[in-house]
């Protein structure tokens, strides 16, 4: 890619991904303001999530941290699907589209691929992105279109009033599964890594610092970023993440992922992560292993197998849940490559409509 890029620039024709029509109208609207405050991102719309919903905390965290990215609000677009979380765009004073169930990654792909100048975000839920929209999610991840996907995982269908979701634990008793659900859940992080996603992270709705930290890295990443946010639905699945939120059990069962640091966790660092005998990872007691055997976290490992092994440490009941950035690797973005192909084509051929229409074998009839 670098060679192609250099080639285009050598010829003095750097890629201009935005059409003249768009550039002109953007220019007419005046100067962009990038020194935003959180309140600049609020809209006049009344927020209509249930009182106590985890979505409020996430909205506040996003509005507080976004200004620090230095992006004008008119350059941000939030695309969502259907579900409680997908109401998110209405509360953000950016451009937005509240689309249809499961399709947000596809819509955002078209937008991001044709407007690489924008900061494109997808807000989705576990039902939206992993059930009806599962196909679009994995394909967006493998393509590496430049966008950030926030997956609000509450392990339940909220807007349709309480059916089990593709992340609900086996045996979940809901209105549609009175005897308990019988299908195994997705682990969204494992799924994303299976699709070779270049950025995968996980955060907790109530952990402002941790959430902000992962969101910032996701936003700065070039390519598709997926952030799974554990989000409490206090109406239909209250306390789903209590094991990790409770100060006592949370320390015991969360594995904080810190770049360059040994994976030690639990009260007084009593537990740690080491390699198992089959190319994966396992939990060990820190005082039973050599310090050198404790795995040092490195999200930039090219091979997704390490991050995948990390994602497999946790069980359905959330014990041993790694929190933080699993993977962050650099690969060419889909939109970037698309723009380069257009630039290359423009160097190779002239965009002459008359020549195109009159191309091929022609014959002329005289008067």
């Amino acid at each position: 890619m670098t060679t192609l890029d250099a080639h285009v620039h050598d010829l003095g024709m750097p890629g201009n991904p935005i059409s003249t029509a768009v550039a002109d109208s953007v220019a007419l609207a005046g100067e962009k303001k990038t020194d935003l405050k959180a309140k600049d991102l609020k809209t006049d719309q009344e927020v209509r999530w249930c009182p106590g919903c985890g979505d409020y905390v996430i909205l506040n965290a996003v509005q507080s941290f976004l200004p620090s990215l230095g992006i004008a609000r008119e350059d941000m677009v939030i695309v969502s699907g259907i579900g409680c979380s997908s109401r998110f765009p209405y509360y953000m004073n950016t451009y937005g589209m509240h689309s249809i169930h499961g399709r947000a990654p596809a819509i955002a792909t078209g937008l991001a691929a044709s407007r690489p100048d924008l900061s494109v975000w997808v807000v989705t839920g576990d039902g939206d992105s992993l059930s009806i929209g599962g196909n679009h999610l994995i394909h967006a991840l493998r393509r590496n279109v430049n966008m950030t996907i926030l997956l609000f995982n509450n392990r339940i269908y909220g807007l349709t009033k309480g059916q089990y979701s593709p992340t609900s634990e086996v045996g979940k008793v809901t209105k549609s599964t009175p005897m308990g659900s019988i299908d195994a859940p997705f682990n969204p992080i494992s799924l994303a890594l299976g699709a070779d996603a270049t950025f995968v992270g996980r955060a907790m709705d109530s952990d402002r610092k941790g959430l902000t930290d992962v969101l910032r890295q996701a936003a700065e990443h070039q390519g598709t970023s997926l952030v799974e946010i554990y989000q409490n639905c206090n109406i239909f699945n209250d306390g789903a993440f209590e094991l990790l939120k409770d100060p006592h059990t949370g320390t015991q069962w969360s594995i904080p992922l810190e770049q360059g640091k040994p994976l030690v966790f639990g009260p007084e660092g009593a537990a740690c992560v080491v390699k198992d005998d089959f190319g994966g990872l396992r939990i060990a007691e820190t005082n039973q292993v050599d310090a050198d055997d404790i795995v040092v976290h490195d999200a930039t490992r090219e091979n997704p197998a390490y991050a995948f092994a990390l994602s497999r440490l946790s069980s359905q009941d959330l014990r041993y849940t790694p929190m933080g950035v699993f993977r962050s690797v650099s690969k060419p973005t889909y939109d970037g490559m698309m723009t380069e192909q257009l630039d290359t084509a423009k160097v190779q051929q002239t965009a002459d409509l008359n020549a195109l229409l009159g191309g091929g074998e022609t014959w002329t009839v005289g008067d």
Binding site: S25, P89, M97, I107, H136, Q341, A345, E361
Partner: protein, 664 residues
């Protein structure tokens, strides 16, 4: 039947004397002039019939005949060799005058094997010329298709002028010194056949030789072999006693200009490129491969220099989703598909209706329902296009009438999409998509200028209750009812759109009953209002006093038009109406139809346009339908129309007029 009316049969389209093929009997080669010929090439899918047909078409176009083609091939890429399901054919009609169809029946059938003979012979009228590859009529090949005896020997082909030619062995002889193996050399038999036909119909040969050199420039030995086979076929025709006659079909008079041969899919793709250039918007195509629409994706993928982005999506839904996302960002979103794909896209089309963004949806219709007949043609998606969505979700529907017309239809569809901020459905079909005709290359400057249809919002267009300037995304243009289109990146105009009902003006979510009623009616009114921009119904009635009208849409234009010529040649009168705009109809269509005693509507479905016309105008349309996967034959249509004319009695005093008179 009026006794004085002469029978149908006229010196016009689709009616020409095949008897001209009878050999003169002498050894001296004679040349017979014909006004038109229909040739059908039929062979195994692996025999290269489509390529041969396309080359003959190019030669014919270069020679200056008018022409129309009908490729017909199985959905299977390569069915077992020599079997009936593996037969692929290509029909070409060319003439010294303007023609409208690929011909009802061939005058000449070339059958490369027994399967091709068996599946095509019934279409060849008695006396027609039948050329067979005699090498392929082996016991094994005959058994494959259930011939108990060899038709070459059993006298069953006596009704036709049958000329068995050892095409395979002569090709092998011609390539004996080429260094190619038997299998490879055999593949050139289609070029031998093309050479023979080129001699027989005085086609120019330089184009084919250039084509072969270009196609096989990396395999010069293959190029040389094909050219050798092509020349051998030509020389065989010139020297053999088997063919005493060759035929000349003079160039057709055409309006001055530069022409090229073009297929419907090609023309549609070029129309999209042109619409992008003429509107100044970048094109974004989101598509999933599907027969028979994929060639549009292929063609547009070649034109990146025009700033065209093509996205091969993971599925049909993502294809249209990405296109709509691109439209939101200020591109011209396009998605191309066939009927099954439209079914999958339905929900996103509804979102486009709700968000009122421009979007072009191309449906290259094929036989349905379900997977149906992927490679055959049909017009059965009209009602799906009109109504195949939840809720009241109107959208404009337009249809091209010929392969070349796909170019203009694409530009018109884009004009409507941009002007009215709406998804537009363009209904092509398999017959238009793969069929070809000469196309007068337009001057770019003569194409519609679409720059005025874009008009992105650049500033507030409303004010809040306290007077603060605001941007209201659902503020409408009073004339077109199009909403304001502000693209992301435009400072101060941030707004949210989506599938939930919008409040009139500010576009906030609204569950207000009165607002919903208003918005549903407004979306409908916007689409209905497009009629103001499309002009009155175009009626072709040279006599001006026909009492029967025939109305159609889409690819039936050719067969209906040819049928009308036959009707007029027989001394009868008929008015032809062919709709480009199906939703909305031209504003005067109801009045126009009311003028006729009878309205006949031929369609390749079970009467979908007829249903709309009856519902909308209370016109007792006579529906004539065919759903065989093949286009209408003009002779059959002519018979239907003639019957309608001959059985329509016009009372001296219309019943309504008499009643009115009594009241006065």
């Amino acid at each position: 039947m009026t006794a004085s009316t002469p029978p149908i049969g006229a010196p016009n389209d689709d009616v020409s004397a095949t008897a001209a093929h009878s050999a003169t009997g002498g050894l001296v080669k004679s040349v017979v002039a014909l006004d038109r010929v229909v040739i059908r090439l039929a062979g195994d899918s692996g025999d290269g019939m489509q390529l041969t047909g396309n080359r003959f078409t190019s030669e014919t176009a270069a020679f200056g005949n008018d022409l129309s083609t009908l490729p017909n091939f199985p959905a299977e890429i390569r069915a077992p060799t020599g079997t009936l399901p593996g037969v692929s054919s290509f029909q070409l009609h060319f003439a010294d005058h303007d023609i409208m169809t690929p011909g009802d029946a061939p005058d000449v059938l070339v059958a490369m094997n027994p399967a091709a003979l068996k599946s095509n012979l019934s279409d060849l009228p008695g006396g027609g010329l039948l050329i067979l590859d005699s090498d392929e009529f082996t016991p094994r090949n005959l058994a494959k298709v259930g011939y108990a005896t060899n038709p070459l020997d059993d006298g069953s082909l006596q009704a036709w002028q049958t000329v068995p030619v050892p095409l395979t062995s002569m090709t092998l002889d011609a390539l004996a010194d080429s260094g190619l193996g038997k299998k490879e050399a055999e593949r050139s038999k289609n070029m031998f056949t093309l050479g023979l036909l080129s001699w027989m119909y005085h086609r120019p040969t330089e184009g084919t030789i250039r084509f072969l050199e270009r196609t096989f420039r990396r395999k010069p030995e293959i190029a040389a072999a094909n050219i050798a086979a092509f020349r051998a076929g030509y020389n065989y025709g010139d020297t053999t006693e088997a063919f005493a006659v060759s035929y000349e079909i003079k160039p057709a008079p055409m309006a001055a200009g530069t022409y090229r041969n073009i297929s419907g899919n090609q023309a549609l793709a070029l129309g999209i490129v042109a619409a992008g250039q003429r509107s100044g918007l970048p094109i974004f195509l989101g598509a999933y491969p599907i027969t028979p629409a994929s060639d549009i994706l292929h063609e547009l993928s070649k034109h990146k220099a025009f700033g065209i982005r093509t996205f091969q999506a993971e599925d049909e839904i993502a294809g249209i989703g990405a296109a709509l996302g691109a439209s939101f960002g200020g591109a011209l979103g396009v998605t191309t598909t066939s009927g099954p794909g439209v079914a999958l896209k339905a929900e996103t089309i509804g979102l486009a209706v709700m968000t009122e963004l421009p979007l072009l949806i191309v449906d290259v219709q094929r036989g349905g329902p379900s997977t149906g007949l992927p490679t055959k043609t049909e017009q059965s998606d009209l009602l799906q296009a009109m109504f195949g969505r939840n809720g009241e979700a109107p959208l404009p529907v337009i249809a091209p009438r010929s392969p070349g017309d796909c170019f203009d239809a694409a530009i018109e569809a884009v004009r409507i999409a941009l002007t009215y901020r709406t998804p537009v459905m363009l209904l092509s079909d398999g017959y238009l998509a793969n069929g070809a005709e000469p196309w007068a290359v337009p001057e770019t400057a003569s194409l519609p200028d679409l720059t005025g249809t874009v008009g992105f919002a650049t500033g507030p267009n409303a004010a809040s209750t306290d007077g603060t300037p605001e941007f209201h995304p659902y503020q409408r243009d009073p004339e077109t009812l199009a909403r304001a289109w502000a693209v992301p990146g435009t400072a101060g105009l941030q707004h949210r759109i989506g599938g939930l009902e919008k409040a009139d003006g500010n576009g906030n979510i609204s569950y207000d009953p009165a607002n919903h009623d208003f918005m549903v009616r407004t979306r409908q009114a916007k689409i209905d209002g497009i009629a103001a921009s499309i002009g009155p119904t175009d009626v072709e009635d040279p006599d001006g006093d026909a009492t029967v009208a025939v109305i159609g849409w889409g690819s039936t234009y050719g067969p209906i038009g040819a049928a009308c010529r036959r009707i007029r040649a027989s001394g009868r009168k008929i008015a032809q109406i062919h709709l480009r705009h199906i939703n909305p109809f031209p504003a005067d269509l109801g009045e126009v139809l009311a003028r006729y005693d009878r309205v006949v509507c031929p369609e390749m479905n079970l009467g979908q346009l007829a249903l709309l016309l009856r519902a909308k105008f209370l016109v007792d349309v006579q529906s004539h339908t065919q759903v065989s996967g093949m286009p209408f034959r003009s002779a059959e249509l002519a018979a239907v129309i003639q019957d309608a004319i001959d059985t329509t009695s016009t009372p001296a005093v219309p019943a309504g007029a008499a009643a009115n008179g009594a009241l006065q």
